[in-house]
Amino acid sequence: MTDAPASARVELARLALNAALAHPDVRAGDPGPAGTCVTTVDGDRTEGVSVVAEGSGGSYAVTLSLRTRIVPLRPLSEELRERVRRAAAVSALAGSPSSIEIRIVDVDDNLVAPSATLRPPL
């Protein structure tokens, strides 16, 4: 680790992943099958998030790659986007995530969340 301040890109990556992991239906970050969804700072690998600058205007494309519980995934991803945007706004990075892509790479079937709206077995 170094004492140098993190770049806005790295700060946004950490903030986005933490915001996602704080959701009760998100189990963990995952680098994905190709192992490319990572942010590495001074040799420290943070798996499950990558942030790429878009042009020179200070905006970034955020990708979160996650393992979640078995819950309706579309509403979950919208909720995660909202959480990331709120967290960015609070930490003065508002407007910097221009797009937030959510990749669900796996689900934990042994931990079906109560919020899952599943029908009873036939």
């Binding site: 309706p72 991803s77 919208e78 959510i102 990749r103 796996d106």
Partner: protein, 149 residues
């Protein structure tokens, strides 16, 4: 035993919008997610004994014993696009069950679960009935009495 295949195109599920793209960005669902949901959903249907062909089940029992296999995904293959998914299942059914009735129940359950959880439209669920399971199949064979003393 020869496998019996059943296939029907699915009607569009009751989802408000099949698109996984919104103003804020896109959502991508990995094949592994759809595979797992399809495997779990198929097993919910009464009369499904197991998923997978004979070789798949034998290999699966070895890989699961060493902790690298997952029973819930064996016998399931999927094709996942941006808005749609297609599922192929290989199942072993309990002897005495109506295969057409079960095939419809599996189709309905699998496509409903996938649509509810992922928002993907399921275009087809192809089911191959690979074997029948008899109630006594899992009983251990009693040792035979020697024929001579």
């Amino acid at each position: 035993m020869a496998a019996e295949s059943t296939s029907t195109s699915m009607t569009k599920p009751d989802v408000d919008d099949a698109s996984l793209e919104s103003d804020g960005g896109r959502t991508e669902i990995a094949d592994a997610v759809v595979t797992k949901i399809a495997g779990i959903a198929a097993r919910e249907v009464g009369g499904v004994h197991q998923l997978g062909g004979g070789a798949t089940r034998r290999i699966g029992s070895v890989t699961q014993a060493v902790g690298i296999g997952d029973e819930r995904t064996q016998g399931v293959s999927v094709e996942v696009g941006e808005k749609q998914a297609a599922v192929d299942l290989v199942v072993v059914v309990e002897y005495g069950e109506s295969i057409p009735r079960m095939a419809e129940a599996i189709r309905a359950t699998v496509s409903k679960r996938i649509a509810d959880i992922t928002g993907l439209e399921v275009t087809e669920v192809n089911i191959s009935v690979n074997d029948l399971h008899f109630a006594g199949d899992d009983q251990p064979v009693p040792p035979q009495e020697p024929r001579v003393e």
